[in-house]
């Protein structure tokens, strides 16, 4: 027999729901903690949501943040945040800083004059400095972007709820959506905890997490639906355990390949999208966890109405379509 890497043995009989209260409780604690952290510490909103300007500078000489701050202070632009950016991809003599200036009163977007002042001031410290990118968002747009972000998350969740409800049972839909809420909150929580910049791309990442998490959840649900027909009299808990065990190898493989690809991107993809990739990487881990311990736990609590014939006509349609294709 050829060698095969098997992360999961052929046949597993883990009891995933042995500690259902503990695991579910843990998830609830995570969610509550995330909400509290987000409320107390707040999110490190990027200019997309807060308005203001970020300027990315690059220089061949090492940075001196303090002197940057020193020359920008007299300009009286309110809150100015200067951070040095590090990345393994940078060349030896590549020193990058990110400067964030709050939205100026009365201006929809920062004026070229203000940017000119900042640039002139920084040139006095380091004549070699280059301005790699300048982004400015006015308070009007940033306010709207917040709403767009919220709407897109709610819209995606609602759409998934409806789809899962139509394809499965309402209990499954509730479980799936609870898992999504869990994933989003916990991700927002970790962004708040580490004060990672939260901007529009993070919203894209959150939506991707929704997509990934539901993907995982649905695959197990699909197997559960199949097994509910196969083992008509077995207690729900056992059927669910069988289903999760049967799909375990797939869950581990898919999470594995996705994580491998994402980790490569996290390390090598550059600092510009690091926050975005971090959110997705974190989301894959959380999403995999939640599809068992949140979505399935809830289905287990709610129970499934097994008297009704759980055969979904469309499911049948798809398998038939596949069979036809073989002829």
């Amino acid at each position: 027999m050829a060698f095969r890497l098997k992360l999961v043995p052929d046949h597993t009989t883990f009891d995933f729901f042995k500690h259902q209260w503990a695991t579910f409780g843990f998830s609830v604690v995570l969610v509550v903690a995330s909400v509290i952290i987000s409320l107390v510490m707040g999110l490190n909103f990027g200019i997309d949501f807060k308005g203001g300007t970020t300027i990315r500078t690059e220089s061949t000489t090492p940075l001196d943040i303090a002197s940057y701050r020193g020359v920008l202070q007299p300009l009286n632009m309110g809150d100015v945040a200067i951070t040095e950016v590090f990345d393994p991809n940078f060349r030896e003599d590549q020193h990058v800083a990110s400067i964030r200036v709050q939205a100026q009163d009365g201006d929809e977007a920062i004026t070229p004059e203000v940017i000119g002042q900042i640039e002139a001031a920084l040139k006095t410290v380091d004549p070699e400095v280059k301005f790699i990118s300048t982004e400015s968002v006015g308070p009007k747009v940033s306010g709207e972007l917040i709403w767009t972000a919220i709407w897109s998350i709610l819209g995606a969740t609602a759409a998934i709820l409806i789809y899962v409800w139509l394809r499965f049972e309402w209990q499954f839909a509730v479980g799936a959506v609870a898992a999504l809420v869990h994933d989003v909150t916990v991700t927002v929580g970790i962004f708040s905890l580490f004060q990672i910049k939260f901007d529009l791309t993070i919203i894209a990442a959150l939506l991707t997490i929704l997509g990934y998490s539901i993907n995982d959840t649905v695959v197990v649900f699909d197997r559960l639906r199949e097994n509910l027909i196969k083992y008509k009299t077995m207690p729900l808990r056992d059927v669910m355990n069988i289903s999760v065990n049967e799909t375990l190898a797939r869950t581990v493989m898919t999470s594995g390949t996705t994580l491998i690809a994402l980790i490569a991107l996290l390390i090598l993809g550059g600092d510009v999208i690091r926050g975005f990739v971090f959110a997705m990487t974190w989301g894959v881990v959380v999403g995999t966890y939640s599809s068992v311990y949140v979505a399935k736990n809830i289905v287990l609590f709610l129970g499934v109405d097994r008297d009704k014939k759980p055969v979904d006509p469309s499911a049948k349609f798809f398998t038939e379509g596949a069979a036809d294709a073989d002829n």
Binding site: E58, E108, T134, I160, D222, A249, I260, G269, N327
Partner: protein, 554 residues
């Protein structure tokens, strides 16, 4: 059995080859881009320079030459979100209505008394009359100024609403007319911005309307957003206004209905002008650089019919009086009307250099923006940052791909090779499809492709794991493979439909880089389902037909 009918095989292989062919130009990006630019220049101007000819020869004409567009974050450039102050146009409309209304009401002065324009908000015209008791009559006269709105939705409505309040007639634009006006303002602004950006000759600018009153402008390769703003010109309004007086005090009281504006090139000189222009730049049909009778640079212009009539009437009645040519709130020149200027053409003289005259002519020809703009969002991305991002993204994608392939082969052996081949085809298909529809690749889009690599194998994993399970229940290998595909199908469909939903929402609500991400994600889902279900199955079936293994090693 595992047999796939010939026509299906042909279609699958054909689609893969097509995708590969479409994706191929992206491997030679700079060369193909130079070729495309040269071809474009040739079709536009009909001539080529030697370098262009060389660039054109650099890529054979018969090969596909579609490329994915690189987004601003990868190529560098400027992004602006502008809000058009559509309400400014209402004010202009109200201002231009006043002389007409005054004329109509003055004819009935005997009954309604003296007529005076009262202060009002920008979008209203308020006229006070001397005899408040006759307000109904005055309103009736004012209503005769209305004309029907010509839009699909505004049928049967008039363009203005006239009401009487005490001794004041209030005229405002009707709702239907406002909508129609806004729409016209936006169309006009879009067109002017497009023409000005095109005139600068940058590559593939994006200029689209967003919402009711916004314009999104993305121009790759431009130095900065400030440069782009200068190019668009925040305000570039040309008007011809009657001159009341000339002086040197900027704070003098101009009197009602008048305004005070500085001279463009004489320090300390100010003109008091009638606020209501005789003609505006909107009515220009042509402008070109010219010289005046002394041989100095000047700009010759021509009005359209209404402009020509208004200009002709005015000059006929005001011979010997000065009138001002005002550009962007500055008086360029204030010549004295020598004679009746009929036919609607003339020249603008000022102290222009040849370059200034040429620029002004261009500006006038492109037309003035009908209303001012505020910039709500602006981003400049330097080309270095874009190149760094491309390099980093490329390295990360290669490493990620290699790792996924290694992992798949280690886990599934030969079947892992099948899945990996399908994965490579999948990536080629994504690029091929994006090139075909000229979709834009952004930095998050690269992340989307990397993510797709991870999830694209999912469908295969579902199938392979299912085949392993079916093998355990001791069916023959052919039956196990068949059942594996069959039973994994509903999970594959469900999993991908849900992901597709979120991608779709991202596409609809997202903008810029995020939308780029959504595009790659959506295309990736479609191609990955295709490659996982059809391409690997074809490979498995071909392999199976040739080897006829008694036992399946998976």
């Amino acid at each position: 059995m595992l047999q796939i009918p010939l026509w299906k095989r042909v279609v699958i292989i054909g689609l893969c080859l097509l995708g590969l062919a479409m994706a191929a130009p992206n491997l030679f990006y700079p060369r193909v881009e130079a070729h495309n630019d040269a071809v474009k220049a040739f079709t536009e101007s009909g001539a080529m320079t030697d370098t262009q000819a060389a660039a054109k020869a650099g890529w054979p004409d018969w090969l596909p030459s579609g490329l994915v567009n690189l987004g601003l974050d990868l190529r560098g450039g400027a992004h602006l979100l502008a809000e058009v102050k559509v309400a400014e146009v209402y004010k202009a409309r109200m201002d231009s209505l006043w002389p007409e209304a005054r004329k109509a009401l003055a004819a009935e002065r005997a009954t309604i008394g003296a007529v005076r324009r009262a202060p009002s908000p920008d979008d209203e015209l308020r006229i006070q009359i001397g005899e408040p008791s006759q307000i109904a009559r005055a309103v009736e006269i004012a209503r005769t100024l209305a004309s029907p709105v010509v839009t699909l939705t505004g049928v049967g409505q008039n363009d203005i609403e006239v009401t009487g309040q005490g001794d004041t007639i209030v005229i405002r634009l009707s709702e239907a007319e406002r909508l129609a006006t806004d729409d016209r303002t936006m169309q006009q602004s879009l067109e002017i911005v497009r023409r000005r950006v095109d005139a600068a000759g940058t590559r593939e600018p994006t200029i689209v309307r967003q919402g009711t009153d916004r314009i999104l402008i993305e121009v790759p390769g431009i130095g900065s957003a400030a440069e782009l703003k200068a190019l668009i010109g925040t305000t570039a309004k040309l008007t011809f206004q009657p001159v009341i007086s000339r002086g040197s005090n900027p704070d003098a009281n101009p009197g009602t209905g008048n305004e005070i504006l500085p001279a463009a090139d004489e320090q300390g000189i100010y003109y008091v002008l009638d606020k209501v222009p005789v003609v505006t730049g909107d009515e220009l049909t042509d402008a070109r650089p010219d010289t005046d009778q002394n041989g100095y640079p000047a700009v010759a212009f021509r009005f359209n019919a209404t402009g020509a009539r208004a200009f002709g009437d005015y000059t006929a009645n005001h011979i010997g009086e000065p009138f001002a040519i005002v550009l962007d709130g500055k008086v360029i020149s204030a010549p004295t009307i020598q004679s009746h200027i009929a036919g609607g053409s003339g020249i603008i003289t000022g102290r222009f250099s040849v370059q200034e005259a040429t620029d002004l002519a261009l500006l006038l020809r492109a037309g003035a923006l009908p209303a001012g703009m505020t910039f709500l969002e602006e981003r400049t991305i330097g080309p270095e940052l874009g190149q760094d991002s491309i390099d980093a993204g490329r390295v990360a994608a290669m490493v990620g791909l290699a790792a996924v392939v290694a992992f798949m082969i280690a886990s599934y052996g030969l079947f892992g090779v099948f899945a990996s081949t399908a994965l490579l085809i999948n990536i080629a298909l994504i690029f091929g499809f994006m090139s075909m529809i000229s979709a834009t690749l952004t930095l998050p889009g690269i992340a989307g492709i990397v993510l797709t690599m991870g999830t694209a194998v999912d469908a295969n994993v579902l199938v392979f794991e299912r085949i392993r399970e079916e093998m355990r229940s001791a069916k023959g290998p052919a039956r196990a493979i068949e059942l594996g595909y069959e039973k994994a199908m509903s999970a594959i469909v469900d999993a991908n439909v849900t992901t597709f939903i979120t991608g779709l929402i991202l596409f609809v609500l997202g903008a810029g880089p995020v939308r780029g991400f959504a595009v790659t994600l959506l295309i990736g889902i479609v191609t990955s389902v295709f490659t996982a279900i059809w391409v690997t199955r074809l490979m498995v079936s071909l392999w199976f037909a040739r080897r006829r293994p008694k036992q399946l090693v998976l």
